[in-house]
């Protein structure tokens, strides 16, 4: 079965931005293609066009020399184009089999036979009759893949598939994808992780600002060359100075941190103990949903727990709320920058006023001191190179990177002794990621401490002095970052143990 997919001069224009500018690409079965680009490069738009979610303004798609019209996701399915999205479309409370049978026209018995064949063929180990909520992210993704395989796809599009997987699960996924490819399924793999492109894919198309800037064989590429093509500039490699913290003062000591939640969707935290020295960065790795969000909220004071001791600069702060903790020079950058760290409907200067201190004088005698807040905001915008100087702009009009710079800037401009951040560069482009990383390294060099909770291991290896892994609400032992490898982290993140 030979499949040939040709995209010819596809353009899609949104108000104020050209998402795809005459994109032409050719794909043939037997190979795995990477579609690489920063956020906003136009990858997602192109994929949405291929899966029928978005209609292009111009251009055509040919499948085996036949001009196909993709007006809806149904059209994509009819043409045997399968798609696995980054966010799963599964009903958590239904069983695996029920999820598969929902959009299948086959009879249940017939479908079960087919699914069992697929499971056997690709060595997937999934119990078809347990609710999806009991599955790990990797297993859920397999269910999505099976859903595509049921339809005998000619083309399989994977959108950022490894963002929620462990190292082990990622390897399993790659094995399966290679198998599919051998069987003649054309695979298009969308990512911004350069390593994956090199280890998995045969050809790579790099997109930038809506255009395809390069198509090449991955054998001819290196991480640096691909990164340069992606951002169009030479990426300075950021290196952290190795520090010795033996003689540093201990700034934070957490003992006996336990958290039990009544909400089944929250994770209980079990006996966490750790400490942090002045100028040190502690990285906490783990796959999302292992207690990171609860840990962050306990550190920020959004959740107050009984019997936990949090000593910060020799003061017990475990019962203080976030505003009170800020008075003691702590700062927080939560994961959800769009609806928690900032309010999209508020203007930039109003979002700045969210981080309010007694000494900031934003609100004197209970009255808003707009002038003061605006001056302060202007300072943040220029010091942290946010791409606007208009403090009256509603923050919903800032791009992800600029919004995150604003938030980090807001938290750091008060020179806190400790910054706690959770996935600080989630979903940002390389330029913004580098900026944030440099900033975080800088504060350590100035003797300020940080805790980075992140699901991105590269980020942690780049920023941390010590690293540990959170798994099912428990913390692994804390390791020196220089002794940690991605493989070790992967084992711990999957619940394994290392010596």
């Amino acid at each position: 079965m030979n499949t040939k997919l040709v995209i010819s001069k596809i353009s899609k224009i949104y108000p104020g931005c050209i998402a795809n500018d005459k994109v032409s690409l050719e794909f043939g079965s037997g190979k795995i293609y990477a579609l690489l680009g920063e956020n906003g490069a136009g990858k997602s738009t192109l994929v949405k066009i291929l899966s029928g979610v978005v209609k292009p303004d111009e251009g055509e798609v040919f499948l085996n020399n036949e001009n196909i019209k993709l007006n809806s996701p149904l059209d994509a399915k009819k043409n045997n184009i399968g798609m696995v999205f980054q966010h799963f479309n599964l009903f958590e409370t239904l069983s695996v089999f029920e999820n598969l049978s929902i959009d299948s026209s086959k009879k249940n018995e017939e479908l079960r036979l087919l699914v069992n064949d697929i499971l056997k063929k690709y060595n997937f180990k999934i119990d078809l009759d347990i609710p999806v909520l009991n599955l790990s992210a990797g297993q859920k993704q397999k269910v999505e893949i099976i859903r595509c395989l049921i339809r005998n796809p000619k083309v399989l599009i994977m959108d950022e598939p490894t963002s929620v997987l462990t190292e082990q699960e990622t390897e399993d996924l790659f094995v399966s994808l290679k198998k599919f490819s051998k069987e003649g399924i054309l695979i298009i793999y969308i990512t911004h992780k350069l390593k994956e492109v090199l280890s998995l894919c045969d050809e790579v198309a790099v997109m930038r600002k809506g255009k395809v800037v390069s198509v090449s064989n991955t054998k001819e590429e290196k991480i640096e060359s691909l990164a340069n093509k992606m951002v169009g500039e030479n990426l300075g490699t950021i290196k952290k100075k190795i520090n010795n913290f033996k003689n540093s003062v201990e700034i934070l000591k957490i003992s006996n941190l336990n958290f039990r939640s009544d909400d089944p969707y929250e994770t209980n935290l079990i006996n966490l103990n750790f400490s942090l020295k002045k100028g040190e960065c502690l990285g906490i790795a783990g796959i999302s949903g292992n207690g990171q969000s609860e840990l962050f909220q306990i550190l920020s004071g959004e959740i107050i727990t009984e019997n936990t001791s949090i000593m910060f600069r020799q003061k017990e702060i475990s019962k203080l709320n976030p505003r009170e903790r800020r008075e003691y020079l702590m700062a927080f950058s939560p994961e959800d920058r769009i609806s928690q760290a900032a309010v999209p409907e508020l203007k930039i200067y109003e979002n700045v006023a969210l981080n309010n201190f007694k000494s900031s004088n934003f609100f004197e005698k209970g009255l808003v001191n707009e002038k003061k807040i605006k001056e302060h905001s202007k300072k943040i915008l220029s010091n942290f190179s946010v791409n606007t100087d208009n403090v009256e702009l509603k923050s919903q009009f800032l791009s992800g990177g600029n919004l995150q710079k604003l938030i980090i800037g807001r938290e750091l401009i008060t020179s806190p002794e400790l910054l706690v951040c959770f996935n600080p560069t989630w979903g940002l482009d390389v330029g913004a990621i580098n900026y944030i990383h440099e900033t975080l390294i800088n504060i350590n060099e100035q003797g300020k401490s940080s805790i980075v909770i992140s699901t991105d291991n590269d980020e942690l290896l780049r920023l941390s002095d010590r690293i540990c892994v959170i798994y099912k609400g428990k913390l692994s032992k804390i390791m020196d970052a220089s002794t940690v490898t991605p493989e070790k982290l992967g084992v711990l993140m999957g619940g394994g143990s290392i010596d």
Partner: protein
């Protein structure tokens, strides 16, 4: 199987001017809806609408009545805007109004026969405190026991009504009142000063205007107002910023209850002059419509209260001239809310028709 595919999408860019113009559109649509109803009932729609919306305010007395009705509506709606802006759904302003009336009325009866400039301020203050206390019940239950404030505040309306009923029939009923369910007429010192001879418009309007100004100040110029705004937009952010959520719930309920209590005491010391069973024609409920029609904005609420007050007056004239029940007024109030919510939905979401398509999967 065939089905009409409809997709609802959120709009990102809603302009401020259109946001404040949709209430005007809603009123316009209400007029059209009203015209159709009158036409179906066999009236000349233009004539009927004229009786409803023009005749009542074509003389000074009518204008004064308009302000008499708008005064409590505006006051309550202003109070409610504090609750609604911060995501607290106080539906029981009617109960807070009645309880404020009870407390204020009780104090007025206590001062029966007293003269002195201090009598009225004490009564007004006690009315406000009454409303406050009554509003604190749902607030405290919500903060400490996680109850739903919509249910609690609504149910408390009936508690207040029954309490008033008991008082005017029983212990507080007028000893010379031939067992009518009402109290004595308050002394002159306990009455709101009338502004013009022969008209009912009273000094309560100044309380309302002062409250509007004060609310604007609090909502837009103070830290408390900022916290209310943030909590209304995102509770997660309010928590992250470290705002004391519980304290704020209690504060907004207190403000809202105080306003409703003031409205109640303004009614009984103003146009009514005593306590009886029906001291409010559901002002507390209608004020919810006023608050939303005015976009929870102090100035907007002034205009909205005038419009909605007109439906009260219009219903009375329509009853006299067209012999339709006075509940027509509520029909109009309902239509205003209906059209407002409808146009808001279309303002914030767009609906796409994707045409007919076979559901073959």
């Amino acid at each position: 199987m065939e089905g009409l595919l409809i997709k609802v999408e959120k709009r990102n860019d809603v302009s401020t001017s259109i946001y404040f113009l949709t209430p005007v559109l809603a009123i316009f649509l209400t007029l059209i809806g009203g015209a159709i109803i009158f036409y179906v009932l066999g009236f000349n729609p233009i004539e009927a609408l004229k009786f409803f919306f023009v005749t009542p305010i074509s003389d000074l007395y009518g204008l004064s009545e308009l302000l008499v009705k708008a005064t409590p509506l505006c006051l309550i709606a202003i109070g409610l805007s504090f609750c609604f802006k911060s995501n607290n759904w106080n539906i029981g302003a009617e109960g807070q109004l009645i309880f404020g009336g009870i407390v204020g009325g009780g104090v007025a009866l206590l001062f029966y026969g007293h003269d002195g400039f201090y009598v009225l301020p004490i009564i007004i203050l006690s009315g406000a405190i009454g409303g406050m206390i009554f509003a604190m019940i749902p607030a405290i239950l919500k903060t400490y026991f996680n109850t739903n404030e919509i249910l609690v505040s609504l149910m408390l309306v009936y508690v207040a009504k029954l309490l008033l009923d008991y008082l005017v029939v029983g212990p507080w009923s007028n000893p010379e009142g031939f067992n009518f369910p009402e109290t004595r007429q308050f002394s002159e010192s306990a009455r709101m000063p009338i502004l013009f001879d022969g008209l009912r418009i009273h000094a309560g309007i100044f309380i309302t205007l002062a409250t509007v100004f004060l609310s604007w100040l609090i909502l837009y110029k103070t830290y408390l107002g900022f916290q209310i705004k943030v909590s209304g937009l995102s509770l997660k952010t309010a928590k992250y910023a470290g705002y004391k959520g519980k304290t704020m719930i209690i504060i907004v309920f207190i403000i809202s209850g105080a306003c409703a209590g003031l409205a109640g005491v303004g009614e009984i010391t103003g146009p009514i002059g005593q306590l009886h069973r029906n001291i409010s024609p559901d002002y507390g409920f209608t004020a919810i419509i006023v608050a939303f029609l005015g976009r929870l904005n102090p100035v907007g609420i002034i205009f909205a209260s005038l419009v909605v007050a007109l439906t009260y007056l219009g219903a009375e004239t329509a009853q006299i001239f067209l012999q339709v029940p006075k509940y027509t007024g509520q029909v109009f109030q309902g239509m205003i809310l209906f059209f407002l919510l409808g146009s808001d939905y279309l303002l914030f979401f767009k609906i796409k028709f994707l045409g007919l398509r076979k559901n073959e999967l």
